[in-house]
Symmetry: C2
Subunit: 286 residues, 2 copies
């Protein structure tokens, strides 16, 4: 079966309409492109779950802050297309910003309708250092949901806060879509796979490894019966490479998204750190 | 055909699912109940336009400010049911707040995902004196859209700012629903029909009439060639009963929702005023 590379919303909708008429189920994998093994695992899961699979590739301007890497963010459409084709994707939806937000639109909440996730969940972890980021994510994801009208949407557990926020959005806004979270995919040595890993120099790449090592240590100690967040935190920090700039290392109840002082089942341990100029995130769920 | 009075989301969805399977179109008329001739005109339009008509009746707590009339807002379910039945409505969806927002949920943007219309449009007219109001409206309307999945949704032109905001929401979030605005329905003497008119004493009712009279005067002068907003404003104000407390009288380009100094085609002339303790709104489009 041929794969369609669509830039226009109407083109996607037309195909979706026909699939719906035939009673086929649809899986959506929203991405910003620069596809890697993490995305591939989402696409494979989507292929297992739904009759038709749409992968969106859109570097979404409204989820980047003014000093973030929107311009620099890797764009590798040709390689992305090859990956999608090899995995049997039915449609790649790769719109230009104008197609998503209209021409000459000032991209701000002065001029556009936004979806705003709960402030208590947003004002933590990545949201704290990236104001407006999750409003931008929730808004574009809802737009993609309305365009593609999937039965299932697939997101990586690596962006644990994003996954929580999108599940909450679906619940709060009565959206008829099942969100499926997929496990973090790692390099052989444990580094969580990320499109931003390509920014790392060889030396930084080695230092970055201490992030997943710190999380592993926490898991190991937790399994040995240590539940004090203070102890787990200090041990983890001692493992981090001394050149790594820790942004946060937090223990969160993953049902409520409230900070906890006691590690227990379903505690999210989430970390963000800068290695050189590159910001990396990783997490485990106990 | 029998009418269904549904309190539960699942009950509505089940019926909608069956209608969709049969290929029937669905019209939604979102209301807060206390149905009057204005609502009836929306329902009649919905009956003409769609195969099946759902009327929602929900006094939405999150669109009322802390000092507004949420508790006092008229609730007249029995009469509403009779009206809907007489007009051939297929489903009344009348959920309790818990059904819409979950039990024990703190109704705030700290805890819930909100839809936030553009600040430039919200921070004017009614939005200026009712902070958070249109976020609450947009949020509940999107929830109703996702529950009922209508092809068409019907709103009164009386809430002109609301109508603009909802059309903008549909566009900005790629919602697959056509919003149909319906003309203001008036009493014989010209007073715009509103659920809040029942708050008016007989004396206030007479004074309130000067609101539509002021708008009529503007329209008359505009047709005579007067386009200066200053002149139109002053004339209108001179017609308003002296006991009426004017909140705003604004001239807005209804394409862009930007204030204008020159009345022209598609200028919205919108007024809000207090008569005694009752806040009334009215408008015309030139």
């Amino acid at each position: 079966m041929d794969m369609l590379l669509a830039n226009k919303i109407e083109n996607v909708k037309e195909n979706i309409k026909n699939w719906k008429k035939e009673g086929l189920t649809i899986g959506l994998v929203p991405t910003m492109g620069a596809l890697h093994k993490g995305h591939m695992s989402l696409i494979k899961k989507a292929k297992e779950t739904a009759d038709k699979v749409v992968v969106s590739i859109f570097v979404n301007p409204i989820q980047f802050g003014p000093n973030e890497d929107f311009e620099k963010y890797p764009r590798t459409l040709e390689s992305d297309v090859n990956i999608c084709q090899s995995l049997g994707v039915d449609i790649i939806f790769a719109p230009a910003p104008n197609e998503m937000y209209g021409e000459n639109t000032l991209l701000s909440n002065n001029n556009l309708t936004y979806v705003c996730p709960p402030y208590n969940v947003v004002d933590m972890l990545c949201g704290k250092s990236r104001p407006g980021h999750f409003d931008g994510v929730a808004t574009v994801v809802l737009k993609l949901f309305n365009i593609v009208q999937p039965d299932f949407a697939f997101f990586g557990q690596k962006d644990a806060q994003q996954l929580f926020i999108l599940k909450k959005m679906v619940k709060d806004l009565n959206i008829n879509i099942k969100i499926i979270g997929c496990p973090i995919v790692r390099e052989k040595d444990g580094l969580a796979i990320s499109s931003r890993n390509i920014y790392l120099s060889e030396a930084e790449r080695k230092k970055a490894l201490s992030i997943s090592q710190a999380l592993n240590k926490i898991e190991q100690l937790y399994k040995q019966g240590i539940s004090s967040v203070d102890i787990l935190f200090d041990t983890a920090v001692s493992i981090l490479d001394k050149d790594i700039d820790l942004e946060y290392l937090e223990f969160i109840n993953y049902d409520t998204f409230i900070r906890t002082q006691k590690a227990e089942k379903n505690t999210l341990v989430a970390i963000a750190a800068r290695v050189g100029n590159t910001r990396l995130i990783d997490n485990i769920i106990l």
